[in-house]
Structure formats: structure tokens, C-alpha cells
């Protein structure tokens, strides 16, 4: 992880756009899957895998690597797309998502694909695993700078196990644990504050002895700074509440919880007919939100 120039930030933003395009193509090919979460987390995944992490795509089991635990497994299209673009496996394989015989199941299976640190899908158990990894690494080296990043959803905070893990992370003062919560405020059945309110979230996390930061999850420089600060915290675990827009990058998907669990082609038709949803999404991404007219090419 380094200081990044504006040009380098712009390159990451461009990479995130490519990853979003892959997500749309994967979901269209699969005909099922989750749209909002993967698009919303594309910037953070890009930043992690293309800048922050100590890792080696050619040697995924490298012992000294950082660990990324994806706790809310249903947003795996963004993890798969990022891993493929980073060189863990061929990009073409992304189009096998959810198909018979594919290594890319609808929820990740650790042993199937290089680069996966865990299997997930049932919500709420990722942070516990990240706690175990951070603790184990610290048992071997009290001053370890191997970080464990746990990527979580806000909805899964409704699982009690999450808070068991928080209690333990605070008790153990796991300096090498950095949780990033995708605070997009939606879940399958609606908005989190209607289904089961999480607020005041920051205060809850502070009460569990976490160092808490809040960021715009689409501002790559802001997220990068927050991760740098989290790494510098030496007596507590850290959590970054990343405020994101579900469906980010494709305006017809943004902010609507109905896109949580539907792929393009099966979502609500208030902005685009089902048959047009995938095409419109790709057009939007390829024209940088309409700022480029494809007719100009």
C-alpha cells in the first residue's frame, strides 16, 4: 500500500469500471444472482486487490499474505471478477458463474478456486473466522503486519454471531483485524432500518472496543486513507463503515433494494424493461455514465 497519485487513483477507478462490466456480464450469463452489493463494493475490492493487499496471484497460498474474508458470500461476483482481473484465474471463466460444473458457485467455495480464503453464504460467520486468523497470526508474531480484512454487509449484522465475534476481537485487541462494513442500507426484504434497525451503528461498534471510521465507499482515496489509519491502530481492532450506494455505477439499479437479489433482466422495470436492463447497464458503464456518446467512436 502506497501513496497514490491522482493518475493512479484514476487508473483504479477505471479498473473498478471494468470489474463492474464483468459483474453485469456474469450475472446476465448466469440468469440469477445478486446485483446491488457487487456493484456497490467494486471500488473497495479494486483498491484492496490492486493496491492495498500483500498477496501474489501466482502463489495464492503464500504464507505471508494478507487475508481477505468475504463474509457476505452473496456478493461474490465482485470477488470473482476482481480475482480474475488480478490474474488469479482466466477472465473468460467468469461467464461460468453459477453454471453446472463451474468453480464459481453462487456462493464461494474456498477449495474450488485460487484466491478464496473461505466459503461463505450463511451470513454472520466471516468476522469470527477473521478473528481466528488474526489471532493465529498474532500468536506466531505479536507484532505481525499481516492484516486480515473482513468484508461484511450491514444486513448480516443482524446475525448474533457477528456480535460474539466483535466482543472477542475487542477483548483480544486484534490490531491486525480490519473489518469493512458495506453500509448500503438495503437487504433482501427492504431497507435495513425498516427490517431491523442497525443505528446507531457507529456507537455500537465503539462500545465493542473497535476503532471506527466512516467513509464514502466510492471515494478510493478516502478509503485508502482510512485503511492506512486502521493499520496504524495498534491496540484495538478496526472497522471502517463504508457508506456505499447499492448498484453503484448503473443508475437504473442504484439505491433500490429490489436489486439486492436480482440479476439484470429480472429486476424491477421502473427504469428499464427486463430485456434492456443488461444492455443499458453495460452501455452506462462503457460510456462512463453517459459522458461519452458511443456514436462518437
Amino acid at each position: 500500500m502506497n501513496y497514490l497519485s491522482d493518475g493512479e487513483i484514476a487508473r483504479l477507478e477505471h479498473k473498478a469500471n471494468e470489474i463492474r462490466q464483468s459483474i453485469i456480464e456474469m450475472l446476465m450469463a448466469a440468469g440469477s444472482g445478486h446485483t446491488a452489493g457487487p456493484l456497490g463494493m467494486a471500488d473497495i475490492f479494486t483498491l484492496l486487490y490492486f493496491d492495498v493487499l500483500k498477496h501474489d496471484p501466482k502463489n495464492p497460498d503464500w504464507q505471508d499474505r494478507d487475508r481477505v474474508v468475504l463474509s457476505n458470500g452473496h456478493i461474490c461476483p465482485v470477488l470473482y471478477a476482481t480475482l480474475a482481473h488480478r490474474g488469479y484465474f482466466p477472465v473468460e471463466e467468469l461467464l461460468t458463474l453459477r453454471k453446472f460444473g463451474s468453480r464459481l458457485q453462487g456462493h464461494p467455495h474456498r477449495t474450488a478456486l485460487p484466491g478464496l480464503e473461505t466459503s461463505s453464504g450463511p451470513l454472520g460467520s466471516g468476522l469470527s473466522q477473521a478473528v481466528g486468523m488474526a489471532l493465529g497470526l498474532r500468536m506466531d508474531n505479536p507484532y505481525t503486519s499481516q492484516y486480515v480484512y473482513c468484508l461484511m454487509s450491514d444486513g448480516e449484522l443482524q446475525e448474533g454471531q457477528t456480535w460474539e465475534a466483535m466482543m472477542m476481537a475487542g477483548k483480544e485487541r486484534l490490531h491486525n483485524l480490519i473489518a469493512i462494513i458495506d453500509r448500503n442500507a438495503i437487504q433482501i426484504d427492504g431497507y435495513t432500518e425498516d427490517i431491523m434497525p442497525l443505528e446507531p451503528l457507529r456507537e455500537k461498534l465503539e462500545a465493542f472496543n473497535f476503532d471506527v471510521q466512516e467513509v464514502d465507499g466510492h471515494n478510493i482515496r478516502m478509503v485508502l486513507d482510512a485503511i492506512g489509519k486502521a493499520q496504524a491502530v495498534y491496540s484495538q481492532p478496526s472497522v471502517i463503515i463504508a457508506h456505499t450506494i447499492p448498484g453503484k455505477g448503473v443508475d437504473i439499479f442504484e439505491r433500490d433494494f429490489h436489486w439486492h437479489g436480482n440479476p439484470p433482466g429480472k429486476g424491477p422495470e421502473n427504469f428499464a424493461k427486463k430485456n434492456d436492463q443488461g444492455r443499458d447497464a453495460l452501455k452506462k458503464l462503457r460510456s462512463l455514465s453517459g459522458s461519452i456518446d458511443p456514436a462518437d467512436y
Binding site: 450463511p122 469470527s128 488474526a134 500468536m139
Partner: protein
């Protein structure tokens, strides 16, 4: 009858040594910790009664207290295994794997993480703690899980062997333990191997009726005591003890079925889904044989002293005798 020479010579003595299987586990875990620095132990606020305290006292830096949080404990252990540790998670069987079954399934078994799950205080013999604490379904739910080994040791000596074996086996293992003292029927020389049962008692050849008894957990001693009485009534008994309900010793079970009139299974567990279920499934497919399953008959337990409860549910010596004589009308 022929009794395996490696068993405790005091097998039928009143004064046979007794110890709870959890004691053997505690010693085994401490020894595993001495042999391998990667071994770590986790407790969910039950460190003494599971006997994990022997390890905790010897290796305080490798002992992790997670509090009353079994779901977290299972997944934390998965994470520890992911960075090379060999975690033993310890609690009562009712809570682990009872409460955290899904975490064990997804984050340990499906993830292929090298975690050992220790469920103490299993079975009806937990006694006066009552039915909430009597795990009678744990072998069934763990046996149904791919990648899982299921062990129910007969005594403290075998529990120690099982613990040491588990610490060197690369993969998830479930070991169910009991609270009460049980007769120490085995010795250091009794074999313990993956998927291998022990034909510890073999019938004499000249009796009119023959029964192949299959036991797991601490039921062997009652079955052996019953065998002595049944022999006098003309019923020859062989006993195959299976420390592992999974993987099942299929060759051992099939061979027993070939050479006996009927098979009787005995376990401190629901009749459904555990040892009896495993044996009936195998024999139903491979060698249809009459199988009588002794265990708890699709009901919850109740309070009482362990001996009272074992008697009530027909799992003591007399219960086994009565069931078998009933079959042959002798």
C-alpha cells in the same frame, strides 16, 4: 466366549477401574500439545468440566477462552486452522455441535479446516442436569455431515488415544464424551485405527442362538456383562465395539452379520440416525439382516441419576438381556 487379550483383565471384576472419558480427553489433549506446538484449545466457559483445563494450565498461551459463544468458537477455530493451527473446540455436545452445527458445516467441514470438535456431557448419563443437557442427537447430525469423522470412545484410555489420533489426522473430527465414570475396559495395547472396530468378544460355536452385538461409546461393558448371562441361556454373543460411527467399519459389520442370527446395536443416543441407523443402512443395502436398535426411542430424556436413567431406557445390562431373550423367547 473368547475375550480379546488386549482388554483389561479385570473386565468382569467388581473392582474394575473407572474413569470418565473426558479425563482421557484432557490427558490426551495435554499430550498432543506437548507433541505439537500447533495444537491450540478453545473453551466456551466450560474449561474444567470438559477437562480442557489440563491443556490450559500447561499451555496458557495456546488456550483461548471465547466465553459462552459456541457459534463464534467454531468459526474462530476455522480461522485459526486457516493460518496453520490445530484447534480443539471444547464444550458440551448439546451446545457444540448442538447449537453451532451450521458453523461447523460451512466454516469447518465444507471449508476443509483441520478443527477437532469435542462434545462433552453427551448421552442420557448426564443425569440430573436434565433433558436440555442430554445430547442424544449429536452423532446423527454429525454423521450426516461430509468430511466429518465421528468418534465415541468406550473409556478414558480410548478417549486419550482418540484425542492423540485426532491431533495428527488432517481434517475435521468430532469426539463425543461422557460425564460419568465408566469402566476402563481397554488397555494401552488395545488397537485404535481409522474406521476400524474391535471384535472384542467372540461367541462359542456350539450355542443354538447367536447375536452379533455392536456397541459404541461406553456401552461395551454393559453388553459384555449381558453376554455372560445370555451364554448361560444358550445365546452366543459376539461384540464388535465401534469407536468410530463414521467412517463405519463396514467389513467388520458385514462379517458379524454373516456369522450371527441377528444384529443388536447399543448406544446412548437416539435409535434414529446414530450407530443403529448406520448399521441398518449398511446391512439393508449389502446384507439384509434383522437389526434391533437399542437406544432412546424418539423422545427427550428426563432427570434422574445416571444408573436410573440407563435402566429406565433399557441400556444397562438387564435391559440388553431382556431385549435379546425376548427375541428368542428363552
Amino acid at each position: 466366549m473368547k475375550i480379546a487379550s488386549h482388554l483389561n483383565p479385570k473386565l468382569f471384576d467388581e473392582g474394575i477401574e473407572k474413569a470418565p472419558t473426558r479425563d482421557g480427553f484432557g490427558e490426551g489433549l495435554r499430550e498432543a500439545g506437548e507433541k505439537d506446538p500447533k495444537v491450540v484449545a478453545l473453551s466456551a466457559d466450560l474449561v474444567e468440566s470438559t477437562r480442557a483445563n489440563l491443556f490450559a494450565d500447561a499451555f496458557p498461551d495456546r488456550f483461548i477462552e471465547v466465553g459462552v459463544a459456541e457459534q463464534n468458537m467454531a468459526s474462530v477455530a476455522s480461522g485459526l486452522a486457516a493460518v496453520g493451527k490445530i484447534p480443539f473446540i471444547t464444550s458440551y455436545a448439546m451446545f457444540s455441535p448442538g447449537r453451532n452445527w451450521e458453523q461447523i458445516r460451512t466454516t469447518i467441514a465444507y471449508n476443509e479446516r483441520n478443527v477437532k470438535i469435542i462434545g462433552a456431557h453427551s448421552g442420557i448419563s448426564v443425569g440430573p442436569d436434565g433433558a436440555t443437557h442430554q445430547a442424544l442427537e449429536d452423532m446423527a447430525i454429525m454423521r450426516a455431515m461430509p468430511n466429518m469423522i465421528v468418534i465415541a470412545p468406550v473409556d478414558a484410555v480410548e478417549a486419550k488415544k482418540a484425542t492423540l489420533w485426532a491431533s495428527t489426522y488432517d481434517g475435521p473430527v468430532y469426539i463425543r464424551l461422557g460425564r460419568e465414570k465408566v469402566p476402563t475396559v481397554t488397555t494401552i495395547g488395545t488397537p485404535f485405527q481409522l474406521g476400524q472396530g474391535g471384535l472384542w468378544i467372540e461367541k462359542d460355536d456350539d450355542l443354538p442362538h447367536t447375536v452379533g452385538v455392536i456397541t459404541t461409546g461406553s456401552m461395551f461393558h454393559s453388553a459384555a456383562s449381558a453376554a455372560v448371562e445370555l451364554e448361560k441361556k444358550g445365546i452366543g454373543i459376539s461384540i464388535l465395539h465401534l469407536p468410530m460411527v463414521k467412517p463405519l467399519d463396514t467389513a467388520g459389520v458385514l462379517k458379524l452379520a454373516e456369522s450371527h442370527d441377528i444384529i443388536v446395536t447399543v448406544e446412548e443416543h437416539q435409535r434414529n440416525g446414530g450407530l443403529g441407523g448406520a448399521v441398518a443402512e449398511l446391512l439393508g443395502e449389502e446384507r439384509p439382516t434383522k437389526v434391533i436398535r437399542l437406544g432412546i426411542d424418539d423422545q427427550f430424556g428426563q432427570t434422574g441419576e445416571p444408573e436410573e436413567l440407563l435402566k429406565h431406557y433399557g441400556l444397562d445390562k438387564n435391559g440388553i438381556i431382556n431385549k435379546i431373550t425376548e427375541v428368542f423367547g428363552v
